[in-house]
Subunit: 139 residues, 2 copies
DNA sequence: ATCCTAGCTTAGACTTCGTCTAATGAAAGA
DNA sequence: TCTTTCATTAGACGAAGTCTAAGCTAGGAT
């Protein structure tokens, strides 16, 4: 998500200060924030920013394909600005820590034709689960 | 999840009529119901069954490993009684239809050691996405 | 068979996460 | 600068799930 202002203009987006702050909060962060975490961080620069605008903007960024929406635990959604490099996620069952990971092959290749039920299959994402070093230690 | 009463007794579960009805509602259903769908169906046999008991029972079944908790869309969780046969899921982006699918290899084998961040990686689940035959037709 | 008690069930309040509404504000082209 | 169209906002609302506290009951003990 670098040079996001350029990309957003390309999408014919009206550039507002709010959208700029939200997008820059995501930009470069190799993390997976919740909407409320993004609001909190963005509010450090623009205290009057509203929750509704954060949700609106995130949903638009997802629709434009500039951000990925993740949902590991059935609780709050998380937003991933790392959309350029295909990757998957590894999550700690103990503490919820999340890492980006890369597989040695494309998982789409592992789904045989007779398992596709006539679908046009477009993508595959893998969630790996386990225990991080700290949580292994702590039983 | 066949012969679930036997299994539940093995887990030292107190067998109540409510738990029996809920478990039998899941049993044999090769689908992925939401908690409310399970409540609705179970209520056909036991109209006074409460929502809280459905949630309690499902959470316990998940903790016991008798049912899988799925969360595809960030909305309501779904419950999968097909816990015996390792499988993955294929979801239609158009209508939300969900299919069980099987891959030709174990995805754990495709995560190299240097991508594991010191985690003890225990399992991997793949979500395939695409469009079902009906939704392909309809653009 | 009956008693006892730990654990189960229940209604409804509550929490969390997210969407919607309708009034106000402002970006950007003319 | 003017105008139009779209964005922002506070707060109400909704959906999904958890919690509480009071009553009930499964199943072991007697
Ligand atoms: Mn990521
Ligand atoms: Mn399944
Ligand atoms: Zn951990
Ligand atoms: Zn479909």
């Amino acid at each position: 998500m670098s040079d996001l202002v350029t990309r957003l203009r390309r999408h014919q987006w009206r550039m507002t200060p709010q959208r700029r702050v939200i997008a820059e909060t995501l930009d470069g962060a190799h993390v997976h924030y919740t909407a409320d975490e993004i609001l909190e961080r963005a509010c450090e620069r623009m205290p009057e920013l509203s929750r509704a605008t954060v949700y609106n903007t995130l949903n638009e960024l997802v629709a434009l394909g500039e951000v990925l929406e993740l949902n590991f635990d059935g609780r709050s959604k998380r937003y991933d600005p790392n959309v350029d490099h295909e990757h998957h996620h590894l999550i700690c069952d103990g503490c919820g820590a999340t890492k980006d990971v890369h597989t040695v092959a494309d998982p789409l290749d592992w789904l045989p034709g007779d398992e596709r039920h006539g679908f046009a299959v477009a993508k595959a994402s893998i969630t790996f689960r386990g225990r991080c070093p700290e949580c292994r230690e702590a039983r």
